[in-house]
């Protein structure tokens, strides 16, 4: 876990002091809203539909128990007793008062956290595989590099006024859990001849023009990576379009110029930038790496786990869905579902946050993670502790066994909170989860990712959902478009639109028809939704969704 240096602490204190003064000047009338808005956005403060919203960065999704407890304190003291974990590994508070925000930022600084660059046209919070440092399938922990990127990008003078925002994701595994192909830059750690480096993907992104990222380089050694990334961002900063905000993201620059042209420009710029990097970054990286050393994994019998697994069907079901393999065979990765059926995806109460912090402290080497799928992870747990963890989670409605299933839905805040939204997302997610829980079909359906966005900006990642739902305003009424076959992993794909959208009260039945079609079409219970869709294509789903169109065509 990264511990702030004196420099980090002093920098943050100075920033918070500046913002406190800016808030005071806004309230006493010396700053207009037009003057104040860029300042508040630089510090993660938005004005949403019903209130302000403070977006706090959780760099690469990693938290200590003390940090999680502080997030709970903020929720209780200055908000309405809960926080919302987002698809970018941030936490959002939906109800802060302008007067209180400087105190909230000071409280965050006490535990080495901030809201800097969670908004605006800057390099945003760097996200990472939520299983980083624990996954059985990774070649190296990507978080030290992510922390280096955080330090490099924070207040980087060249990158404060870019054409648009810029998002970087990083993973250490071939199995992509960080959606790297849907980011402006995606990094996959790879090793070549004993040297650690990264494969660099560029120009991915969702939003109104969804694109899968393209390979900019198949390998850049760590020694050169920061210079290479600086070259990449700077090429875009120079030639990216500033005339039209919808065409300003690097995905459009890559699309319009072609990946080969971009690569040539980056290589040229890299030669200029490279001499400025004289190895200080690698010295810093070595220092950062010591913060992320793996804990001393305890040894012990796993017999109590095996006996609970055999004898307790509820525990077994939870283990089967919510536990992932750890690099240490006696350990496991626990995903705590923040998606109880009918609850708001990603919302946790202050009490739940404290319970998770306590569990992390007692059983999980003091570490927690937030996933882009809006769940909380205990990355290192000895298997013998799983029954006790499960028992505690049950008491606080945190033991839902649904990870990767139909009710483990990603949903953006939608029009219940967001000023940009064109329709609601949360109630659609709640109703889908409740419906399939009532049908008791969830475990039979198996691995199926539903992702819902309440507008074209796609914070809910609908394009890469196996079933994607996009809420729109169609002539003053909420209307939901469906896409099928999206995929956010290493085999990334943008979903295909089924056809005309559905009204608010038609969307849950439409999803049910899609799922029933899958159950009819799959060739065995082992064939997952996405595999079936890839095998049979859109036609049977279309027939189930639009029977009238089929009848007319006949």
């Amino acid at each position: 876990m990264y511990r702030y240096s004196e420099f980090d602490t002093a920098f943050l204190a100075e920033r918070n002091k500046q913002f406190r003064a800016q808030v005071e000047r806004r309230i006493d009338g010396s700053l207009t809203e037009d003057e104040f808005k860029p300042f508040r956005l630089m510090n993660g403060l938005y004005l949403q539909l019903h209130a302000y919203m403070l977006r706090v960065a959780i760099p690469y999704g990693t938290l200590s128990s003390a940090q999680m407890r502080q997030l709970a304190l903020l929720a209780e003291k200055w908000d309405k007793g809960y926080g919302h974990f987002t698809t970018r590994q941030n936490i959002q508070y939906n109800w802060p008062k302008l007067n209180d925000v400087p105190d909230m930022l000071d409280a965050l600084a006490e535990v080495g956290m901030h809201a800097i660059q969670t908004s605006g046209n800057t390099i945003r919070n760097v996200t990472a595989d939520h299983f980083a440092g624990a996954a059985a399938d990774e070649i190296a922990d990507p978080r030290p590099y992510a922390e280096l990127l955080r330090q490099w990008s924070t207040d980087h003078p060249e990158f404060q006024f870019m054409p648009r925002k810029f998002k970087i994701a990083i993973t250490g595994s071939e199995n992509d859990r960080a959606v790297i192909k849907a980011h402006d830059i995606g990094l996959q750690l790879v090793e070549r001849d004993g040297v650690l480096g990264a494969r660099v993907i560029v120009g991915g992104g969702l939003g109104r023009t969804p694109m899968i990222g393209k390979e900019l380089s198949d390998f850049v050694a760590f020694d050169d990576l920061l210079a290479y990334l600086e070259a990449t961002v700077s090429v875009w900063n120079q030639i990216g379009r500033r005339d039209n905000k919808y065409k300003a993201r690097i995905k459009i620059t890559v699309h319009e110029n072609g990946i080969d042209t971009i690569r040539a420009k980056v290589n040229e710029r890299f030669l200029q930038v490279r001499p400025q990097f004289k190895g200080a970054d690698m010295t810093l990286l070595d220092e950062i790496k010591t913060h992320f050393a793996a804990p001393a994994f305890r040894e012990g019998s796993v017999a109590s786990f095996e006996s609970a697994y055999t004898n307790d069907p509820v525990f077994r079901s939870w283990v089967d869905t919510n536990i992932a393999p750890h690099k240490n065979a006696d350990h496991a990765i626990v995903t705590i579902s923040i998606k109880k059926h009918g609850a708001t995806p990603g919302d946790a109460t202050a009490e739940q946050m404290r319970v998770m912090a306590d569990l992390a402290e007692e059983f999980a080497y003091d570490e927690l993670r937030i996933s882009h799928e809006q769940n909380v992870i205990l990355p290192h747990v000895h298997k013998s502790d799983l029954p006790a963890i499960h028992a505690k989670l049950k008491e606080y409605e945190l033991a839902t066994a649904n990870i990767g299933l139909i009710s483990d839905i990603i949903a953006c805040p939608g029009m219940d909170y967001c000023a940009l939204a064109t329709a609601r997302s949360i109630p659609v997610a709640q109703e889908i989860a409740t419906r399939f829980d009532d049908l008791k079909l969830e475990h039979d359906i198996g691995h199926l990712k539903i992702k819902i966005s309440g507008c074209i900006n796609a914070c809910g990642h609908h394009h890469v959902g196996h079933i994607g739902i996009l809420g729109l305003d169609r002539a003053g009424v909420e209307n939901y478009q469906i896409t099928l076959g999206g995929d956010g992993t290493e085999t990334a794909a943008i979903g295909d639109r089924t056809g005309p959208g559905f009204a608010y009260d038609e969307i849950v039945p439409a999803v049910e028809r899609i799922v029933n079609t899958y159950l009819e079409q799959r060739d065995s219970p082992e064939e997952e939704f996405l595999q079936t869709y890839r095998r049979v294509g859109m036609a049977p789903f279309k027939a189930a969704l639009y029977p009238e169109a089929q009848a007319n065509a006949a």
């Binding site: 006493d28 004005l47 019903h50 209130a51 008062k97 007067n99 708001t344 029009m415 949360i426 003053g476």
Partner: protein, 104 residues
């Protein structure tokens, strides 16, 4: 042909609370849409919007929103304004709970 003017209300967010507020005929800011001044004249609407924008130290982001006359005062014509006057649908927060009035 110019589009016919449809009735409007002036709405904004309170500077400190962030809450949705409406301009009333007697120059107060109310949290309740039903108390808003329903404006049926286009020129008057522009004047009232200017009146609102001048109060930059109380409010943020004033704009004109469509509304219609209802039994108890103005009512929204679009679902976005309906959500703004009510609060979120997943919790009884915002205007669905008792809260202090913004500074008038």
């Amino acid at each position: 042909m110019a589009r016919a003017f449809t009735p409007k209300i002036v709405t904004a967010n309170d500077l400190l609370e962030g809450d949705v507020i409406y301009l009333t005929e007697d120059d107060r800011w109310s949290r309740d849409l039903a108390e808003a001044e329903l404006i049926t004249d286009e020129a008057h609407a522009q004047v009232r919007l200017l009146d609102a924008a001048r109060q930059a130290n109380k409010i943020v982001g004033a704009y004109l929103a469509d509304a219609v006359a209802g039994e108890n005062g103005p009512e929204p014509t679009h679902f976005r304004e309906d959500f703004r006057r009510t609060g979120p649908s997943n919790y009884a927060h915002g205007k669905q709970e008792t809260a202090t009035q913004p500074r008038a």
